[in-house]
Subunit: 314 residues, 4 copies
């Protein structure tokens, strides 16, 4: 049986200003800190079940240390290691506990040099009594601080390489399905949205031709239950004097969005609601062309450029 | 006892394309038609109590026929007539029934030539059984069609004259209070928001120095109970392929806004929620200066220019 | 010129458990504390402009110390004093500063012994830098803590006396207008909603025939901009394990409601959104009868009994 | 490779009053009609991709004709046929086209006699130009009529048999996973929520000990993007004078709910928002016991009884 990815797990961020990033992610965005181990702060949203969905570590410059994916079965990690090595990737093992809460995992890079991790074992840490939800199916109380998203949702990568090649690599090697894509004609694919789950995208990869490095992070996204929660977040950010783009609604993925940057790390975060689920096994990838790209990018609201713009190194 | 304005009553619009305007206001915006008399269509929102809050009449070009204000007492109409004539305005009387549902009224112009009407008597027409709300304090069922605002809210005028002079005229002659204003320094007032009610504005008047005429309509506004209703309206407009500006939130008046034009008449309509109420009798007008105007105009969201832009003739 | 009430100002509550009440009003409801003077804590919502809209003082038992109304003009306080004395009320003066932020005021009782205060002068206290909104027309940042309502809205009184007599007294002596009422037939008026503002009610007075005292507080209400905010408040209360009634929507006043009690004082608080505004000067009070009372009380949602139930002493 | 269920496809309802049911589902709920073939009306929500998610056929009494599940692969239908026969079920084939838009399918009953269908092939019918969304990833324009849910979500069955046995049957034979359940102690399982997708439940099965038949439908559910949409639906239903239960929020599944019955068929429909997604492959079913069942059933809002109550025959 082929190994399978179950879900996006977490993203490990390096920030040159840990204090400011911690403030942004915990006070402004409202993530909860599970624990702080050896200088790495492990955070998650109130509805995230695993030990962490985001980690912050001080570093010389802003970077993505890795983007981690959970497998469906314990043995899938090893199977992926073999398959990826056979496919030419350089795979290294990370021992249990190197990352807090996590079992043995592998690390490797996409052809675009984006750093990925695959793991299965992860602690589903219980919160302390004060922050614990009264609901048995929810980790923390909601609405304790800041914008207060429910859960980690997706990552959006940019690359100076041909994104279509990365889409193919993700499909061939990790089992992703292409859900929507932007086709500029003449074989030029500008962007693609892919998933292993019914979400329209667990990951997107798009072109950023003039990027300094091939491995860029366009943004990571946290999910909110209601569009109104995004408007509330807009109030909160405005009161902090933090600039952002949105709110708006993409035609592509039907996302209600607001894009904001962590001033500590310069990484961009999407506050995300709406969208839709794909349960059809024979989904035909939705093609957006220059003719209909306007509504694809901005169904309504403040435009969010998805092309050549400031990304961070991944 | 001095006469007093109780509220903004309605706006009478001339449209060069009545059919298209009717479609926009009834199908897209979702206003209800009270009746159609001599070619004039009398409309109102589901929560408007009076016979109409907007009327549409075919004409050669787009224009505002009049903006109507209801007085607190029947005798106030005559009192205003005398006071306005004493103040130099040319006042004409409109007989009962000339405007459907309405009693005797006066018409006059602001120094900026904006056409105003003052009336007291107006039929509070009952809707037909099918459209009638089950609530005794609500006129029509809500949510029957289109965006479905609750009620008419305010008008926003533009002028090539000094808006401060018009603000003063409204304060001195009609009893308005200045609630917020934009002061560009050196005595230049760009815009002011005024009301006779606890709403931040029943009317705004702002500078449009290069306008063709002194009497311009920047927009008229209908109120929605929830910010989410504005997002729903954005979906509806987008599905009709109708362009608009917003959603966003002004710092000034704390309005959640979306601006859209009736393609039939080119008149601009604001879909409006949020804002706040002023109950303080000693309200100090809130001054916005170039230093804080950015947050004043756009607390968040897609910018809505309030300066020199396309207005319609009023 | 007759004196006039401009607005409901504040409510002064006595609580037998100040600590618990403070926690409820500041942490759970999310009111801001302006200051603490001689053991009285002065609170307000983020959108309240005056020094306080609610105060909490330790006392032997739960009680309303007074319900305060602001006049339109400074001289109205003295005028009301004379008129009320002429009408048989016993009026006492409260000197400037006895209540923090407030000028000279009068106190008196309704025929139902509900304690009222009338004042004009009140400090519009600026918040400290950290809590201050970036908006010049808003006092505090919104959404800092708890449910986070915008402003104090209304009080709802219960009495063992005939509520219709109290309605009449409020109309005759304080200038209130009756907006809606419940008529059980045979001249029995169960409840009435009255206002001096365009709100449907600044005050309601309803029958509680078997109450221990004639002066009961059914609830006080804080306003939220969006119905969704009430659902968010329901989540927050549920996480604290605090019981409440609602959400629901009254036909009467079209209020979106949630009723919760401060466990420290047992006073009931309504979290309130929706409703409508009355700008018509010739408003006909809306009559609800036993035939249509069901939709009047509960248009939808969890029933909130407005009849004979636990109230607190006022 | 074992056959797999991809998703809940549709529910085929028999109604003794087709006209009234059609009115309810298309005008009040706002479903779109794909087509009407041989007296069966095929409906779907604006975001449903397949030919239909619900069908209505006139019959002598209210009944569920079948509940249909789509497989992941074409060959899975035949594989399921063999496996189910081996497991003792009586399987019958339905030829292509018997049900409009659908390919060859199988029908069988659960041990509780609930009628199931399994199919793979289904037309993804394009809507006519007028109703078509401008979005390439959305079928119909949203918000055209009535409450306007996005998509079909789940079914909730009741049975006089032991629900735990049905849960086990669904797990063993159709690959469902148990997500949450109510354990009354002493081995009595009152209800279970199961899914093949990351939804908390595609199906629930609960005890109704005194039901006339073992095969009952408690409700079917349509999904709305925002909790606010449920409140809007409450307004719409109230204006039609249609009674319902809710809004409220279950702790179990974290569903924002409103339950309403189609007066034509008496089938119950849940208007549903909120909830959460389960991406963890090692999900431990959440156990609710009598001690925490109160918050499990009603986190807040009007109680919705999930026990012994009016269901319809399935």
């Amino acid at each position: 049986m082929l190994p399978e990815i179950a879900k996006l797990g977490h993203i490990a961020l390096i920030t040159p200003d840990l204090k400011k990033s911690l403030w942004f992610f915990t006070e402004v965005l409202g993530l909860e800190e599970t624990e702080d181990v050896n200088g790495t702060h492990y955070l998650r949203a109130w509805g995230d079940f695993e030990h962490h969905s985001l980690s912050l570590t001080q570093g010389k410059k802003s970077k993505v240390d890795h983007i981690a994916w959970r497998t469906k079965r314990p043995e899938d990690v090893g199977k992926f290691a073999k398959m990826l090595e056979a496919a030419g990737a350089k795979v290294t093992w990370v021992e249990k506990g190197v990352e807090a809460g996590q079992g043995r995992a592998i690390r490797f890079q996409l052809p675009s040099e984006h750093p990925f991790e695959i793991y299965y074992e992860m602690e589903k840490t219980k919160p302390d009594q004060e922050r614990k939800s009264v609901l048995k199916n929810q980790v923390y109380k909601s609405w304790r601080k800041g914008a207060s998203p429910r859960r980690f949702d997706h990552v959006n990568l940019a690359t100076s390489q041909d994104p279509a090649a990365i889409h193919k690599w993700l499909i061939d090697n990790l089992g992703f399905k292409l859900r929507e894509y932007v086709d500029l004609g003449n074989g030029v694919i500008q962007a693609g949205w892919l998933s292993v789950t019914p979400l329209v995208h667990d990951i997107a990869v798009m072109a950023e031709p003039e990027a300094e490095t091939p491995n860029r992070l366009h943004h990571l996204a946290y999910w909110f239950d209601n569009a109104q929660d995004i408007l509330r977040a807009a109030d909160i950010l405005s009161e902090y004097g933090i600039e952002f783009v949105g709110p708006g609604k993409h035609g592509i993925s039907q996302a209600i969005y607001l894009y904001v940057k962590d001033a500590g790390s310069n990484h961009r975060i999407e506050l995300f609601s709406g969208s839709y689920l794909i349960f059809e096994p024979d989904w035909e990838p939705v093609q957006w062309t220059p003719e209909d790209l306007k509504v694809g990018l901005t169904y309504w609201g403040q435009d969010a450029v998805i092309g050549n713009e400031e990304s961070t190194e991944a």
